[in-house]
C-alpha cells in the first residue's frame, strides 16, 4: 500500500493535477483572509472594468506634488482617438475655412489637429448632411474643449453665505500629481465587477469553493450508492442481483440529465440550496459506478482467496469488506475523482438553465455564468464576468482528469 502511494506520487500526471487542485484549494481557503466583506457585497456598478479604483474626492484632498511632466499630450492621447482626430480633419475640410490642415497626420499630429479644431470650430457653420452627422461634431467639440487648457480646475463647495453661492476650496493645476497611496479610499478589482457590482475575483474564489463542495458532496453520494449497489449485487447474486441490475439499467437508459432537470424543477426554488442540488446530482450520477463495481465484483467473487474466506466461515459483509473492497478500491477512487468533476459540470449546466441552487447568499461557478449570461456580459464586452469562470471550471476538470489518468497509469496493469 505504501509502495503504491509512493508510485502514485511519482506519476507526473497525477502530481500536476494534484498540485493544481491543491493550489485552487489553498486559494479558496487563504484568499478570503485578506479580503474585506462578503463575496456577494454589491460594491460597484454594472460591469466595472478590472483595475485599481481610487476615490476622486480623496485625490483632491491628498497632498499634491507638481511635476514637470508634459500632461497635455498624454491627456490628448487618452481622450482623443484616431477616429476622432480623423473626424476633426473632416470638419476642417468640409467647412472650407482657410486653414492649413493638409499634411497633418491623425496619428502623429494629434495635438496640432485638436488645437486647430478648437481654434476654428464654429457652431454656426452648417455642413451638408444629416442633423445627427452635424451633432456629432458639436459633441466632439464639447468633449475636447477643455483638454488643451493648462489652467486646471477650481474646486468649489456650496456655500449659501457667499454671493455666488459657492466657495473655492482648492485648485487643481494641470501638472499636479498625487500619490495613489495617499488616497485613503481605494479598491482594487482584479477581475472587475459583475452585473450586480460584486467583486468578481472575490466572488470567484468563494464560487470555486462552493462548486468543489457540490462536487465533493455529489461525488461522495454517487460513489457510495454505486459502491454499495455494485458490491451487493455482484457478490450476493441471485434475484437481488437481477433486481439491482434492473434498477441500475433503468437509471442508465433514462438520460440522467433529464431526471436531474425534472428533480430540480420539482423542488421549489426557495428550498433549492447548494446542498440540495448536490444531493440531486449525486442521486442521478451513481449508475455507471454501480455497473463497473458489479462487474469487477463478479470476477473477484470466484477467486480462491474469497473461497478460503468463505471456508473460514466469514459472513457476507466481512468478505465484501476485507476480500473484495480492497481490490476494487483503486478503481473506485478513480471513479470518485471523475464523479466530482462531472458533478461540478452538472451543477454548471443546471445553473445555466436556471435550475441550479437559487441562493442569494452563496455563489457557485454555474450561478456566476448564469448571471453573466442573463445580463448579457458577452454583448457588453465584459469578458471578466465569464471568462475567468469558464477557465476555473476547465482548470478544475482538467486537474481532476489528470489525477484520474495518473491513477489509471499506476493501478491499471495493462498500462503499466
Amino acid at each position: 500500500m505504501k509502495h503504491r502511494l509512493r508510485t502514485t506520487f511519482q506519476n507526473t500526471n497525477f502530481v500536476v493535477g494534484f498540485s493544481i487542485l491543491v493550489l485552487l484549494l489553498l486559494l479558496t481557503f487563504v484568499t478570503p483572509l485578506f479580503m474585506q466583506g462578503s463575496p456577494l457585497d454589491m460594491v460597484g456598478t454594472l460591469f466595472n472594468k478590472p483595475g485599481n479604483y481610487v476615490n476622486r474626492m480623496g485625490v483632491i484632498d491628498a497632498p499634491k506634488y507638481p511635476m514637470s511632466i508634459e500632461v497635455a499630450s498624454i491627456r490628448l492621447g487618452a481622450a482623443v482617438s484616431n477616429d476622432e482626430a480623423k473626424q476633426m480633419l473632416e470638419w476642417l475640410e468640409k467647412s472650407e475655412l482657410d486653414v492649413e490642415w493638409k499634411g497633418l497626420d491623425p496619428e502623429k499630429d494629434r495635438a496640432a489637429i485638436v488645437e486647430l479644431f478648437l481654434a476654428n470650430y464654429d457652431d454656426s457653420i452648417r455642413l451638408p448632411g444629416t442633423s445627427a452627422y452635424r451633432k456629432g461634431f458639436t459633441r466632439l467639440y464639447n468633449k475636447v474643449q477643455n483638454l488643451l487648457s493648462a489652467d486646471g480646475y477650481v474646486v468649489h463647495v456650496a456655500d449659501p453665505d457667499s454671493e455666488s453661492g459657492y466657495r473655492e476650496v482648492g485648485k487643481i493645476e494641470s501638472r499636479d500629481f498625487t500619490n495613489v497611496k495617499d488616497v485613503p479610499a481605494r479598491r482594487f478589482f482584479l477581475l472587475g465587477t459583475d452585473n450586480f457590482g460584486r467583486d468578481v475575483f472575490h466572488e470567484l474564489i468563494s464560487a470555486i469553493g462552493n462548486s468543489l463542495m457540490v462536487g465533493l458532496i455529489a461525488g461522495s453520494i454517487a460513489t457510495t450508492i454505486g459502491l454499495l449497489i455494485g458490491l451487493t449485487s455482484g457478490y450476493v447474486g441471485g434475484w437481488l442481483d437481477n433486481f439491482l441490475t434492473f434498477v441500475t439499467n433503468m437509471f442508465t437508459v433514462i438520460p440522467s440529465f433529464v431526471i436531474l432537470i425534472l428533480l430540480s424543477y420539482s423542488i421549489s426554488s426557495s428550498s433549492r440550496s447548494i446542498v440540495v442540488v448536490a444531493f440531486v446530482i449525486g442521486l442521478t450520477a451513481w449508475p455507471w459506478t454501480a455497473r463497473s463495481v458489479r462487474s469487477q465484483t463478479l470476477t473477484l467473487k470466484n477467486r480462491d482467496h474469497v473461497n478460503i474466506s468463505r471456508l473460514s466461515g466469514f459472513g457476507t459483509v466481512r468478505i465484501i469488506v476485507t476480500d473484495i473492497l480492497p481490490y476494487v478500491l483503486s478503481y473506485v477512487v478513480m471513479a470518485y475523482i471523475l464523479q466530482i468533476s462531472s458533478a461540478i459540470l452538472a451543477e454548471a449546466q443546471l445553473s445555466m438553465l436556471g435550475l441550479g441552487p437559487s441562493t442569494t447568499t452563496h455563489a457557485t461557478l454555474g450561478l456566476m455564468l448564469s448571471w453573466s449570461m442573463q445580463f448579457q456580459a458577452p454583448l457588453s464586452g465584459a469578458w471578466w464576468a465569464f471568462i475567468p469562470v469558464v477557465l476555473s471550471i476547465a482548470l478544475i476538470s482538467f486537474s481532476m482528469n489528470l489525477m484520474n489518468t495518473g491513477l489509471d497509469q499506476v493501478f491499471n496493469p495493462t498500462l503499466r
Binding site: D304, N307, I308, G313, T322, P326
Partner: protein
C-alpha cells in the same frame, strides 16, 4: 507393469463410511441450454482414505469439489455426512461443516488476499476453531507449531505480505492452515500443479503425514493419473460430469475397464522405457542437420 515395480504409499484398512454423495448433479442454465457440469454422481469416502478424482479440464472435477465444500449449491441429489443429510442452512451450521471439511486450491498466488498480512490467515483459522478469545501468546504458540509442521519459521513470516513469499512457501502455509483446523476431509484441488518439482514432493509428503497423524480423508483432484496412482487408495475417473470408472487404485490402473481410462493411461509418459531409435519420429544418422553456415532451405 506389475504392482511391485513401484514404491507405493502404504495402504490402510478402511471401514467407516464418512461422506457419501447420492445422485449429485450440478446444472447450469435452464431448458435447452442447460449444461450438466456434474451429472448424477455417486461416491463414498471413508475415514483415512486417499481418494483421487482424475479427469481432464472441464470434466467437472472442480465443480464437484465446490459442491462438496458447499461453495456452490447442489442442483440435484444429496450429500450425507455419517448417514445424515448434511446440515447446511444457518451460518452456525455452515461454520460447523467447514470445521470438518476444508480445501487447498491450485494456485497459491490467488489463494491469498494480497491486502492482509499472512498471519491473518492462520489467526482466522484459530477463530474458526472457536478460540477467538485465546490470549495472543497461546495463538502464537499454535501458529508456530503449525508452521514448524510445514518446515516454515513463524517468526520469519509475521508482518509479511503474501507476495513476499514464494509459491512453494505459500502452498505450505495453506497446509499449515489445514494443520490448525484438522478437518476430517481435505479437498486438495491440484495442490501441486503450480509449484516446482522439489516443492511438489514435500507438499505430497506433508499431506500424507496429515493423513497418517490425523486420520484425515484426502480427496486429490488432479489430471495426473500417475500421481493419483502413487498416492491414492481409491480412484474415480471423471469424464464430462460422470464417473466412468471407480475402484481401488490397483484395479483402475492395472486392469482398466473403460476405454477412456485406457486412453488416459496411454498418455502417461514413461521414463523407464528405452527410446525406440528405429521410430520414424527420430532423425536417422544419415540425415543432414541444417547448420547455421549452410542455412536452412
Amino acid at each position: 507393469m506389475a504392482e511391485t515395480d513401484r514404491v507405493k504409499v502404504k495402504r490402510r484398512e478402511l471401514t467407516e463410511t464418512f461422506l457419501e454423495g447420492k445422485n449429485m448433479s450440478k446444472v447450469y442454465g435452464m431448458g435447452r441450454r442447460a449444461n450438466r457440469a456434474v451429472d448424477n454422481v455417486n461416491f463414498k469416502f471413508r475415514r483415512g482414505e486417499i481418494v483421487s478424482i482424475v479427469g481432464e479440464s472441464g470434466s467437472g472435477k472442480t465443480t464437484l469439489a465446490k459442491m462438496i465444500l458447499g461453495l456452490t449449491s447442489i442442483t440435484e441429489g444429496q450429500l450425507e455426512l455419517y448417514g445424515q443429510p448434511r446440515a447446511f442452512g444457518t451460518t452456525a451450521e455452515k461454520r460447523e461443516y467447514w470445521k470438518n471439511i476444508q480445501a487447498i486450491f491450485q494456485d497459491p498466488f490467488s489463494t491469498y488476499n494480497v491486502f492482509s498480512k499472512i498471519d491473518k490467515v492462520l489467526l482466522n483459522c484459530i477463530e474458526l476453531r472457536g478460540q477467538k478469545d485465546l490470549p495472543y501468546a497461546q495463538k502464537v504458540e499454535i501458529m508456530t507449531e503449525a508452521c514448524s509442521f510445514v518446515n516454515l519459521r513463524f517468526a520469519e513470516l509475521t508482518n509479511k505480505y503474501p507476495f513476499e513469499l514464494s509459491g512453494g512457501q505459500m502452498q505450505r502455509l495453506m497446509i499449515a492452515r489445514i494443520y490448525i483446523l484438522k478437518p476430517k476431509l481435505l479437498i486438495a484441488d491440484e495442490p501441486t500443479s503450480m509449484v516446482d518439482a522439489c516443492s511438489r514432493a514435500t507438499i505430497l509428503d506433508m499431506l500424507l503425514k496429515l493423513r497418517d497423524e490425523e486420520d484425515m480423508t484426502i480427496v486429490f483432484i488432479t489430471h495426473d493419473i500417475g500421481l493419483a496412482y502413487y498416492v491414492s487408495d481409491t480412484i474415480y475417473i471423471m469424464k464430462s460430469g460422470q464417473f466412468v470408472e471407480q475402484g481401488t487404485s490397483d484395479e483402475v490402473i492395472l486392469h482398466p475397464k473403460s476405454d477412456y481410462t485406457k486412453r488416459l493411461l496411454s498418455d502417461v509418459p514413461s521414463i523407464y522405457e528405452p527410446w525406440d531409435l528405429t521410430s520414424d519420429d527420430l532423425l536417422s544418422e544419415e540425415d543432414e542437420f541444417p547448420t547455421a553456415a549452410g542455412g536452412a532451405p
